[in-house]
Symmetry: C2
Subunit: 212 residues, 2 copies
């Protein structure tokens, strides 16, 4: 096994962005790229790019730069897109439906296996080929199927409750869209998408500039 020195959060959060830009370069038929070129494109410093990538190994070559395709693949490996990830979505409202309908996830190994809701009008339906079950069937489903990640698109209190159930069933990865923090043991890994928080940051900037 390779060395497993701790990668900083700041670095991890930038990886998907590198991945994104590299994909664009591939689509444009670009074969090689230097950290300098990439930095201009991404509005980052070349030094940061080199240092970030070097956390995972020397992907570049002096005098040449980086091979776009192979760097893309390496970052993909690091991000785990080569493994299949099985997801369930709790909540089949607009947000949940938006998730299962977005094409981009499936091309990176994410497979939506089921949705769950308490609304009887939704249960039994299929959204983009993903079946909606009643929340009552959640426990049964999770015991019988491989589930890696649970996406939570339900109100805060429900999200806290359901995430605890899912944790007790062994699920450790949560993609949380509820407007609250989850209350889980520390080995659970939660990625929050707090839309109001992000909108408030925008509001902060907007109000602030008006003061001048």
């Amino acid at each position: 096994m390779a060395q497993q020195h701790q990668i900083s959060k700041a670095v991890i959060s930038r990886l998907p962005r590198y991945y994104r830009y590299l994909r664009v370069l591939i689509e444009e038929g670009v074969e090689r790229v230097s950290s300098e070129e990439l930095s201009r494109l991404m509005k980052a410093t070349a030094s940061q790019i080199r240092q970030d990538l070097n956390n995972f190994g020397g992907f570049g070559q002096q005098g040449y730069g980086y091979n776009v395709k192979s760097l893309y693949n390496e970052i993909g490996k690091i991000l785990g897109v080569e493994q299949a990830h099985d997801l369930i979505v709790i909540g089949a409202g607009n947000l949940g439906r938006a998730l299962v309908r977005y094409k981009g996830f499936s091309t990176h190994g994410f497979k939506f296996r089921a949705m769950f809701d308490i609304d009887d009008n939704l249960c039994g339906k299929s959204i983009n080929g993903v079946k909606v079950y009643h929340l009552n069937g959640l426990l049964n489903f999770v015991m019988k199927n491989k589930v890696d990640i649970a996406a939570l698109t339900i109100p805060s209190e429900d999200a806290i409750k359901v995430s605890k159930q899912l944790y007790s069933l062994g699920i450790r990865y949560f993609w949380n869209f509820a407007h609250t923090d989850l209350e889980l043991p520390s080995d659970a890994i939660v990625k929050n998408v707090h839309l109001l928080d992000s909108l408030l940051e925008l509001s902060f900037e907007a109000s602030r500039s008006k003061e001048h």
Copy 2:
């Protein structure tokens, strides 16, 4: 005008979270809170909380702590929830619809004024009281109405194009859900919600832990 020393991004990104927790405390009828109590609740250090809040003024009192309600209001002011913010949503798909349907935004001063789409089946409809117009009418609408923030829930290329148009019409605040960075002058302020990026971070953690 008060001093306007630069507030760090890290601090700003924590403000909405303070705001969220304080609201919960208000709902629970809690009148005062110390940085120590809050830190336990929020899993942060008390020191960080005190220092963050102190960027904006001495809201606390030695020997007492912080008055929950007044701190909540102060942070609300800082975040600009007292001003009305007029939003438009570009893209009336599931994601756009999820935004205009979510109750939480309107209670903080955010008003969705219109949605725009190119799908004729959607145009003319109303979603949660918000009318969907054809994208052709965007320019006209923006010239005749106050628009503070544009939410973009359309594919990447379209988002880049439309955001440039909106910028040229004077809009400076963008809430971008497209899977790309926008290409705008530096006085535009963009908050990105890159769902795939956030899912990939989760995938990174999941893959990483499997290696052990």
